[in-house]
């Protein structure tokens, strides 16, 4: 026993990597669907993943429990239990046919750190908790961050009633089956007291191309972009014969929408030139196949619109431009843009103190410390919005995310995991 511990101390670095590789491999084996990874929110794949991580944590001698949200919590108790704990982790569910690292990287990095501390006999002053959260992905119920939202009493009755996108069962039933205390969630009760968490540190793959393009293995996140969305805007013009109607008599819904998008693109470019953070996308667009035709001026077009930014001010300013262009083009071309309900998702700023600390940590490791925004949403946003100082560490990854080709280099992962471990050690000491 003593011999094993001494050995584990000297071999600790490779043990950490071995542990990580072992867990990634076993997760991939057990939750692969043949094409990619499928760990359904509150479903069997996710539960298997939680069980696997729990088993490994116990094998490392760590204490584990399942909280009221059915999330896995791995703890390293501190000397002073009255102090708020440092929390780390991420989610363990995936999209259908997704990648193995989305979410799992954050959980495994946290487990590596806690295992190392345990094997060293390091007892921190304040406790450290690793969360393997359930239900982050919106792919299954159309609602993102269900697990973290449930922790802070933010799931509405509507949310709990949303149907599973395949089998139609309401979220509340699937949560109940997974062991969530749904009555408390339905009452909007906080399952976790924000005051009991000193900080939330989340490692996650970038899921984008920036770190690859900038040659950065790891980066610190400045904030998580919020968004304003319209799922279905209708441009109503007037249908007509494409050959007979002169330009000045047309109310062409496609040309009007094309002009709107072009103008918005120019505004976007200008705002970027002036230093604002913004991305704009129209992901769904089309004429009605039941009525469109080659020789028919389209009288109707439906499209989606989404703007994301770390700044609410930028979002609102861009939205004002959007509304004014809809009105202007509407008047000029004699069309109408009918907007459906506006959907908002608030941006979340990461904690300034933690950003500085993590950047200093990267510099101490001899790595570049460039900060970048997170375009994708994460549980860290929910923690931040609950008033918990939160931070994210991005790990470079290849081939994007939410697809089976999602990739991540172990060398990059190890750097991120090392930064997390150092930061946890310093903060909890």
């Amino acid at each position: 026993m003593g011999g094993a511990r001494a050995m584990s101390a000297t071999l600790a670095p490779s043990l950490g990597r071995d542990l990580a590789e072992r867990l990634f491999d076993r997760l991939r084996e057990t939750t692969s669907d043949g094409v990619g990874i499928t760990r359904e929110s509150y479903g069997p794949g996710e539960s298997l993943a939680l069980d696997m991580v729990e088993a490994e944590a116990r094998a490392q001698g760590l204490e584990t429990l399942r909280d009221a949200g059915a999330n896995l919590v791995v703890t390293l108790p501190g000397r002073d239990p009255s102090l708020p704990v440092i929390a780390c982790g991420s989610h363990l569910d995936s999209v259908p046919q997704g990648g193995n690292y989305d979410g799992a990287a954050g959980v495994i990095a946290g487990l590596m750190a806690l295992s190392r501390f345990k094997s060293e006999g390091f007892v921190p002053n304040r406790g450290i908790a690793l969360y393997a959260l359930r239900g982050e992905e919106s792919a299954w119920f159309g609602r993102a961050y269900m697990g973290s939202a449930a922790l802070f009493g933010r799931l509405s009755t509507e949310d709990l009633a949303t149907p599973h996108v395949v089998n139609g069962r309401p979220l509340i039933d699937c949560m109940r089956e997974a062991g969530v205390e749904v009555e408390r969630v339905a009452r909007g009760e906080k399952l976790l007291d924000p005051a009991s968490i000193a900080a939330w540190l989340e490692i996650h793959i970038e899921q984008g191309p920036v770190l690859v393009a900038r040659n950065l293995p790891v980066a610190i996140v400045t904030g998580i972009r919020g968004n304003i969305r319209h799922r279905a805007i209708e441009c109503i013009g007037e249908a007509g014969h494409s050959g007979t109607i002169p330009r000045w008599l047309r109310h062409d819904a496609v040309f009007a929408t094309a002009e709107l998008i072009t103008r918005l693109d120019r505004h976007w470019r200008t705002l970027l030139e002036r230093g604002r953070d913004l991305v704009v996308t129209s992901g769904i667009i089309g004429t009605d196949p039941a009525e469109h035709a080659l020789a028919r001026i389209p009288g109707r077009l439906r499209f989606s619109m989404e703007a994301r930014s770390q700044s609410i001010e930028t979002l609102e300013a861009f939205y004002d431009l959007f509304l004014s262009e809809c009105a202007g083009i509407g008047e000029e071309r004699g069309v109408e843009f009918r907007l459906d309900r506006r959907l908002d998702s608030a941006p979340a700023r990461m904690d300034e103190g933690w950003i500085e600390r993590l950047r200093a940590g990267l510099r101490a490791m001899g790595l570049p410390d460039e900060p970048i925004p997170s375009g994708a949403g994460h549980d860290a946003a929910v923690f931040a919005q609950a008033g918990i100082p939160s931070a994210m560490i991005f790990i470079r990854n290849q081939h994007g995310s939410h697809n089976p080709a999602e990739a991540m280099e172990m060398e990059d992962f190890m750097l991120g995991a090392e930064l997390l471990e150092r930061s946890l050690r310093d903060a909890a000491a």
Partner: protein, 223 residues
Amino acid sequence: MSGASMARLLLEGNAVQVSHGQPFILAAGWASPAYIDCRLLIGEPRLRRAAVALAAEAIRANFAGAPPEAIAGAETAGIPWAAWLAEALDLPLRYVRKRPLGIGRNAQVEGGSVEGMRVLLVDDLMTDGGSKVAFTRGLRSAGAVVDQALCLFQHGTFPGGAERMEKLGLSLVALANWRDVLDAGGASALPEADRTVLERFLADPIGWSAAHGGRATLLKPAL
């Protein structure tokens, strides 16, 4: 006087085009047998110098009581003319977009502030005044006092222009119009056949437009 001079410059620069077949469809759908391209004058140093001199003289003569403090060129073709005029009159230069780009009071104006300044709007052409509305609003949003405008050529053939200028409170000086072109053009500059077509058009521009596949009425209100 300046009308004839400006018209001669346009004819010399081959800026006047008359079609006997397919009409030109101008802004807002008006059909016209005639097209003026003032941009062709930009290319010729002698012609542009002469046009700028005429414009500067017109500004001094018409706006002596309240001289402009800055010249703003209407994008795009108005910008070079505004630049040469600003140089000739030793005045600050700005340019104004047709619509805002980005956010803020100055989203339509480039070149500096126009806050509280009397700004003279310069464009090469005027058809129905629609674009002048957009330019004036952009300048006023940025705090400029805009009640003076100048253009090299005013079509004057299609309705809405005068009403728009009045509603805007914009005093527009045009160096030349179609009448000036007809009066100035000798047989070599303006062939008889072209002259005939133009006379017919000028007698009833709306009717001509309707008869040649263009707009027949002013469907939208003036502003």
